[in-house]
Symmetry: C2
DNA sequence: GTCTATACAATGATAGAC
DNA sequence: GTCTATCATTGTATAGAC
């Protein structure tokens, strides 16, 4: 397990304790498999994906893929673990010392940027959670819950200081998550309804979210 | 095909033209299968679901299920078609003559209510769209697009009349869809993070959305 | 480390008795 | 209309040659 990988069990294990030294070729091929698996799992979900598809996408044989990861489950867990980092990082940046509305808008903007830059990651989680979050439930209940609780306290403090409209902090976070991830998760629907060019679409999205957020949150 | 069912091809076909007369028992069993299929497909997606699971849930044998619907695809299409109606109706209610913010809030409230009352339907679509909307793409590009375009014009008129903040109408609709459906689609995540009782949770959701919408949209 | 071949289970769909 | 039995296919995983 790589050092920057998230522990899906929620336990406090020593990072890298069980992994032997890996050769360059191993590192390269595992990375290729994980990249391919992100592609496949994010569009088809866990059960809808086959090891064959992943192997094809990675340009390897099925048997070879299963040499690096013993089971399909293992591949899936690896992809989730490595992608969770991207998803978690921006919220951690929310700074209690900064200007409240500015901080929240910066966070929203970053999530919007991620939805555009890493839509696969977004869809991977959407799929996982839609199926009941069987693999990442421990992560949600431990690491994510702990982080979100801390950030909710910051937001609540801002509200108590009269710097922010009296929203429910947790639901404000849900609103930011949903409205930004929507652009990745529901892309086919958005493309069916939108007539503007790509860049205009995203400009309008950003402008509308900014307007709604800044006005809605003003004390 | 039932009369209140949505045509997934987007063509203008004569309703019921190809269906023979159905006996009571047929109607009852088809309904049972569709209800069971909604359960199964919405939690596992199309490929993740098996005809066996559907048969079990419906309390029938697999062979008997496949007597009523020849293929798994047919079951899926039937469930989607019957559920789309629920999803479409509320937007159609948006009234150009009413008070803009009140109308938009009523619509949001109705969507929130649906997310709570019919979370399966929400997840069924989320799954379908995540996989690229293979079945309902024609519907999105025709019926839905036509409806959304009309409603966007109403919203734009409101803005032009100075009754509403200058948002991009399409993106306002996306915001309403995403923030309300989130409570159905991401339920496992919400349950992992929320500590309040069910009814408090939904009260807070409604209160926060109302505050953000009404303040955000005020001209 | 990588490939071919294959075992074994799950699943969609059909045939035919009742 | 409903059931049991069965087939064909696909998909996960392993064995063993190279």
């Amino acid at each position: 397990m790589a050092d920057d990988e998230i522990n899906l069990n929620g336990d406090a294990t020593v990072s890298g304790s069980s992994s032997r030294k890996r050769t360059r070729i191993q590192i390269r091929n595992e990375a290729r498999i994980v990249r391919a698996a992100l592609d496949v799992f994010s569009s088809n979900g866990y059960r809808g994906s086959t090891v064959d598809q992943i192997a094809d996408t990675a340009g390897m044989s099925k048997a070879n893929v299963l040499y690096y990861f013993n089971t399909k489950q293992d591949i899936y867990a690896a992809v989730l673990a490595r992608t969770l980092t991207i998803w978690l990082d921006p919220l951690a940046e929310l700074d209690a010392e900064g200007d409240p509305i500015e901080e929240l808008w910066k966070y929203t903007q970053e999530k919007l940027r991620l939805s555009r830059k890493a839509p696969h990651a977004s869809r991977l989680f959407a799929n996982e959670i839609l199926q009941g979050a069987p693999v990442i439930k421990p992560f949600l209940e431990n690491q994510l819950k702990s982080l979100v609780t801390r950030k909710c306290q910051i937001i609540q403090t801002w509200i108590d200081q009269g710097k922010l409209a009296p929203v429910a902090p947790l639901h404000l976070i849900f609103l930011i998550w949903s409205s930004t991830q929507h652009y990745a998760d529901f892309a086919p629907q958005i493309n069916a309804l939108n007539t503007e060019p790509e860049d205009v679409l995203h400009e309008q999205a950003e402008q509308t979210l900014k307007l709604m957020l800044t006005r809605g949150l003003a004390p």
